[in-house]
């Protein structure tokens, strides 16, 4: 008798945590392009999408491509060719028909939570408006996540880099396809369009399998949300940041996460 409510509570906790990727799934989520700097009249980039601990290893699960958003140099959406998902990764091709910079992102924005109905705790996903009548003690979390990378055909351009002012975003000060090893690259972070000051950002080089040191640099943005990235050696690098804001009256708890893959080229 006494055990039942606590078991229920435990089940609820476990169940909920599986719904919160930022909390329960600590695996890194990434989009890894085959190249970031390209040339010619047109070209194609192929991208792997996966979640893993090691970088950039296919070892855990593929990323769903349902929320794939590709912005072309003119700011218009670009249609990818989805090749599919295997056990550990998803793969898609992006045709680069126009000169300039493309932003390739997995963007999600959703509400999840729980409510009580007839003495039972229920979980839900989606809008609070769709909850059954009589639902009480509604607890919700608004999650926004963005996982992205950038590629450029020809000369870099800025149109695709404009912020959407939703969730946690990186606004490049140094163009993301103009980064070289040994030179500082400056990025600016925004949370819902406002400078994300004092934000902790994880910065890690790929190739974790081949070194003993995890190589994680924990960086912090300044008051304007600015951050300087520096890498001594060339390669693909991973960035991750997240933020959480407590629920307030009329506002659910808000969580936002951001991950990116940036290539540092040799000069």
């Amino acid at each position: 008798m006494f055990a039942k409510p606590s078991l229920l509570a435990l089940g609820l906790t476990l169940g909920l945590s599986t719904l919160l990727p930022t909390q329960a799934d600590a695996h890194r989520r990434w989009l890894l392009p085959s190249a970031t700097v390209m040339a010619g009249e047109s070209d194609l980039v192929t991208v792997d999408a996966a979640a893993s601990n090691g970088l950039f290893l296919f070892e855990h699960r593929p990323m769903s491509l349902d929320s794939l958003v590709i912005t072309g140099p003119d700011g218009e959406p670009v249609d990818p060719t989805i090749l599919g998902s295997g056990a550990y990764r998803s793969v898609f091709d992006v045709p680069l028909a126009a000169q300039g910079t493309y932003r390739i992102a997995l963007v999600s924005d959703g509400v999840m939570g729980s409510y009580e109905l007839d003495g039972e705790r229920q979980r839900f996903r989606g809008s609070v408006d769709d909850l059954p009548a009589g639902a009480t003690d509604i607890r919700t979390t608004h999650n926004k996540s963005r996982t992205e990378t950038f590629v450029t055909l020809g000369a870099p351009s800025d149109t695709a880099l404009q912020p959407t002012n939703s969730g946690l975003e990186m606004v490049p000060v140094t163009h993301p396809n103009d980064i070289v090893a040994g030179e500082p690259a400056v990025m600016r972070f925004l949370l819902d369009g406002q400078p994300a000051a004092d934000l902790e950002v994880e910065f890690v080089a790929g190739g974790t399998r081949y070194r003993d040191d995890p190589g994680i640099a924990m960086l912090r943005t300044d008051a304007e949300g600015r951050l300087t990235l520096e890498a001594a050696s060339a390669g693909m690098y991973y960035l991750e940041a997240s933020s959480a804001q407590e629920a307030t009256d009329g506002q659910p708890e808000r969580r936002a996460s951001y991950t990116a893959v940036l290539e540092f080229l040799p000069l």
Binding site: M38, A39, D43, G154, A155, V180, L265, P266
Partner: protein, 172 residues
């Protein structure tokens, strides 16, 4: 008319030759390599000013005609030139781009007042040569020089892998 004559005399007095005769010759040696699969390198020759800004691209040797493929696809392999100049240029570029060249020494002379050198303002410069080879490596060679040359000079730098001797000769 009078002033221009006076100017011409002054210039002659300083340089002892008409300004239009100023020229630079660049010779680039592409080494013969003993490798299983050899492709001629892509080579870029350009000039940077004292601040490191690329001010002239003189030569780009690449697969100009690689139909049905686009030879421009591998231009970014010359990473430094691509970042500082190439990506902002329209290729092929008249008088600048040319087909890849076989192992050996290739020389070209550039004259002040003529493309692609055009009128290079007086200053301190660096001539850069970058080579990138398919299934091979990449190498950069640099030679500093003054323009216009105060005397006829010659300088040589030597690559270790993808480039042999790079020679810059200037004539006042």
């Amino acid at each position: 008319m009078r002033t221009s004559i006076a100017f011409a005399f002054a210039a002659t007095g300083l340089a002892a030759a008409p300004a239009a005769a100023q020229e630079m010759s660049v010779s680039v040696e592409i080494p013969r390599l003993r490798v299983a699969e050899y492709h001629r390198p892509y080579v870029a020759v350009w000039i940077e000013d004292a601040s490191g800004k690329s001010v002239r691209t003189l030569d780009v040797w690449y697969d100009v005609d690689l139909s049905p493929e686009d030879g421009a696809k591998w231009l970014p392999d010359m990473r430094t030139w691509w970042r500082r100049s190439g990506r902002a240029m329209k290729m092929p570029a008249n008088g600048v781009s040319a087909p890849t060249k076989a192992p050996g020494t290739h020389a070209r002379t550039y004259r002040q007042g003529s493309r692609p050198l055009a009128n290079l303002p007086a200053g301190s410069y660096t001539l850069r040569v970058e080579a990138a080879r398919e299934v091979g490596g990449r190498e950069l060679v640099a030679l500093p020089f003054q323009w216009p040359p105060k005397a006829s000079t010659s300088a040589t730098a030597r690559g270790k892998s993808e480039l042999g001797a790079v020679r810059l000769t200037t004539k006042r």
